[in-house]
Amino acid sequence: MSNLLAHPGALLIAGAVGLIVLRGRVRTAVALIVPLVALYVAWQVPDGIAAQARFLDYEIAPFAGDKLSRLFAIIFAIMVFGGALFALNQTKALELPAAFLYGGSAIGVAFAGDLITVFVFWEIMAIGSTLVVWSAGGRSAYRASLRYLMIHLLGGVLLMAGIAGHVAEFGSIAFGSMTLDSPAHWLILAGFLINAGAPPLSAWLPDAYPEASWSGMVFLSAFTTKTAVYVLLRGFPGTELLLYIGLFMIFYGIVYALLENDMRRILAYSIVNQVGFMVAGVGIGTEMALNGSAAHAFTHIIYKALLLMSAGSVLLMTGKSKCTDLGGLFQSMPLTAACGIIGALSISSFPLTSGFVSKSMISQAAVDEHMLYIWILLAAASAGVFLHAGIKFPWFVFFQKDSGMRPPDPPLNMRLAMLLFSALCIVLGVFPGPLYELLPYEVRFVPYTGAHVVTQLQLLLFSGLAFFVMLNYLRRTPTITLDVDWVYRRLLPPLCAAAASGLSRLGETFSAAASALSSRLVAALHQHHGPEGVLARTWPTGSMALWVMVLLLAYLLFYYL
């Protein structure tokens, strides 16, 4: 029991309670100190089972550590700290406690030694994250949070059915590596993948996350999908299916991010894209690939949070989030712009940033396994990432046309949070050693070889070239203000534009069909199940009695046959 007190997740959840009760400076102190304590505690968790309990008929291990779980717990704790620092001036009182609950349960999953504990924290995480979305306030956030909750509870019940099936089949509750040889494991995988934002239910992520407040989305970007990566790393390493799912996610994210106009939705699609790299790494399944996925989750949490902090600062200071409404903000928000650019460089895996030292491991794993096509696809995707997140986000928000707005940089705590995460991005990029120390397997990989750096730089430069060549062309006619439609029509090849309109039309048709179908379904259900429906109205006694006779005859018939 005393061991449970040293559970960093439990600490954060206790901190959530404190944040609800406390006010003023004490609350600030709790918000900053508790995650740091949790970080320290997570670092100290020993290998092996630290706490045991009995639940149902099983010995469960709610608290067990190894290198992989420590890695995720550490980054989750760092994230809660950075997010809390960033969100200190958030006026929505519920958001920070909800985020602590959310982060604490994510750490709970990371330290879960058995599947039941995974499930329990999984559900708490769904509730915590829903509260984060919901706390933004307003009708559309409320509705989005309900849709979000429904999807996640669906994932939860799939997971629960799978876990029960696993127990029925193998008699063990321990959380170890599984293969797709039984329906139970398929169900577990489906439950995990829903949280990862995998197809066909990827849409929950860009639907719900941008509805959160400017600080809420910073938290949301970190935990749900990365916890899914963690459980996939532990439960399904080397499952080939994941490779294809990951590749699909990568390109889904890129295509939709390129079509998107809202800066935070761009970044939301980009989460799907980045998680796709990690899932693909799990699918490759070699030690190098698994290390790469774990490291990429670690670095991605930092730079994606940084990007969203930068976007959140813009949203807070201007109240706008559409690319078409923004632009030229670098003049008055230099720090936000600089930090956003560091995040953008990291997500594009620019050498000397954290993204480079982690993503190159996944590509290298594909090379080592002689997966040529996979490697080519990953390389092409890297270019795509550079386009949609590396250039598109900072360019349209901070440069581009001058929107005329001159908001100052955000308050001190938010600047500090961005500076902290920018520093982490660069430090990890320059000195990847400590990160590699934390990885589950021994790292035999040197990121900064001439070949790696040159390949990556070539890739980035060439993919950037298109953008910048067109840019120069635009600059020569200064009377033209850069309009987003114009960019789409001229900057991307016509083919891409055709694909874009086709895709969005397809998407509209689908969503129209889906909403028509669902309203018709509800109407049909209501017709039969509604208060006046045949299944719900009060029947005359005679017809009830008739039913009794019908049933009796049916039974007799069945018995005599």
Binding site: L535, T538, A545, L551
Partner: protein, 493 residues
């Protein structure tokens, strides 16, 4: 000295208390008496459970006539478990009922209410305790007749109609049961259930026995409100006084499930019902129908009591689903859910009674924002609702877990999926409550309400607490249920 008579005392105490209440004609005295006998019954049931915990069977011959000639009361681990459940619920509800009944039932009828309450309790305990087929029917009638009266005491005038319909349907059910018992008596020449079981193998292939099974199945299905014979239940639960709804929802259908199990496993035997006949498949289909159709109907209800009544029909589906799987795990799941659902629904209907006390009719349109003025009640309903959904840490999760486990044991992973998916329907109707109570602005009537009195909140929260406690510590419930399941499976061999 008195301990050997416990099996019969259990039933006789409330049975004797009833006429005394009528004679004294005082609501207050009647309540005290009802409380005393309920708690005494609970004490006796607990001591009986302790006696049979080692697997022994307590047989009590009424009037010292040895079975099978005399009436035998026969307590094993199956019905001892049920006796504890029924008397526990009765003890909690009776404490609650004083304030609730005072508000919902005219003063001059109070003593009659408690008389009927005691009779109903005697009937339910009698059904559980007896080992005699005809005696079982008698107690079934005692409990049914008294529950018709209890339902008719509801302040809504539609309560009379609901009670009348329940009376007709319940009587048909009871008639079917007595026809079934009669046919078995015809074939075996005995009414003692254990004796009947030992003689049945000689006549098992006859059509009379099959007809007996059919009559019993339909009759008991009516009493336990198995889909599609549940039609009497929603109105009866919706219009009865709150305490009655809670008591009946938590006990009456559960006792009927016990009768079904007793006949299927102890009398006919598992192999005759499930292997030779397609009973498992039929029960499975009906259970799934209950789970999905009744839950969907519940989603669309306007009245909270009706909504939770339909939810009861759905939850009974989970119990019978466990039975239909015809395995030790399935049966354990069914029995554990019988217990767990009794706690959950008991808690929910007691809490709805607090709303009814302050509001009258408990409809969605008039509970907007009620969580602000009645936070304790509202939060209790949320916890009870979580248990209906099956969130870990509540009893609902425990039941669902074993059900899913049983489905996988049979290799029916699709069934496991259906079980967990159906819990999303429960989520929707529980969410409707949360949205109405927490996220809407209270209107003037609601804003003036006060929290329910402690004497109603404490019993209700005891049940809510039990929902959480037994969701974490499953030793007693799952242990008891698996022993009962083993006992039933053994007795059928």
């Amino acid at each position: 000295m008195i301990a050997p008579h416990f099996p019969v005392l259990q039933v006789v105490l409330p049975l004797l208390a009833a006429p005394i209440m009528v004679l004294l004609r005082s609501g207050r005295v009647a309540w005290v008496l009802a409380t005393v006998v309920s708690w005494a019954a609970l004490g006796i049931a607990l001591s009986l459970l302790a006696q049979v915990a080692d697997g022994s069977v307590v047989s009590y011959a009424i009037g010292s006539w040895p079975p099978p000639w005399g009436i035998e009361y026969r307590i094993d681990r199956v019905n001892a478990f049920l006796l504890v459940l029924v008397s526990l619920i009765a003890s909690v509800v009776v404490v609650y009922s004083r304030a609730s009944v005072a508000a919902e039932v005219p003063r001059e009828q109070h003593y009659l209410f408690y008389t009927m309450y005691a009779l109903c309790l005697a009937g339910l305990l009698g059904i559980a305790a007896t080992g005699d087929g005809f005696n079982l029917f008698v107690f079934l009638e005692i409990s049914s007749l008294s529950s018709y009266v209890l339902i008719a005491l509801g302040r809504d005038r539609r309560a009379l109609m609901a009670s009348y319909q329940y009376l007709i349907m319940g009587t048909i059910g009871a008639t079917f049961i007595v026809i079934g018992v009669g046919l078995l008596y015809l074939m075996t020449g005995t009414l003692n259930l254990a004796d009947m079981a030992s003689r049945l193998p000689q006549v098992t292939e006859t059509r009379s026995v099959l007809a007996a099974l059919a009559f019993l199945t339909v009759g008991i299905s009516l009493k336990l409100a198995l889909f599609p014979l549940h039609l009497w239940l929603p109105n009866a639960y919706a219009y009865a006084p709150s305490a009655v709804t809670a008591f009946l929802a938590a006990t009456a259908t559960k006792v009927s499930v016990y009768v079904l199990l007793r006949f299927y496993y102890s009398v006919f035997g598992e192999s005759r019902v499930f292997s030779a006949l397609p009973m498992g498949e039929i029960l499975l289909v009906l259970s799934l129908g209950a789970m999905f159709i009744a839950s969907t109907v519940a989603v669309f209800q306007h009245d909270l009591k009706r909504m939770f009544a339909y939810s009861s029909v759905a939850q009974i589906g989970y119990i019978t689903l466990g039975v239909s799987l015809d395995s030790a795990t399935g049966l354990t799941a069914g029995i554990v859910h019988l217990f767990n659902h009794a706690l959950t629904k008991g808690a929910l209907f007691l809490l709805l009674g607090s709303f009814a006390l302050r509001l009258g009719a408990v409809k969605f349109e008039n509970i907007g924002g009620i969580a602000r003025v009645m936070p304790v009640t509202s939060f209790g309903i949320v916890l009870g609702g979580l248990s209906l959904i099956g969130i870990p840490g509540t009893v609902g999760f425990v039941s669902k877990w074993y059900l899913v486990l049983a489905a996988f044991d049979r290799g029916a992973w699709w069934l496991a999926l259906l079980i967990v998916l159906s819990s999303l329907l429960a989520l929707i109707y529980v969410w409707r409550f949360v949205e109405a109570a927490y996220f809407r602005e209270p209107d003037e009537t609601v804003a003036k309400l006060k929290e329910a009195p402690a004497e109603m909140l404490v019993p209700a929260w005891l049940m809510v607490g039990a929902c959480i406690y037994f969701g974490l510590d499953t030793g007693l419930t799952v242990g008891g249920a698996s022993q009962a399941a083993a006992e039933l499976l053994r007795s059928g061999r």
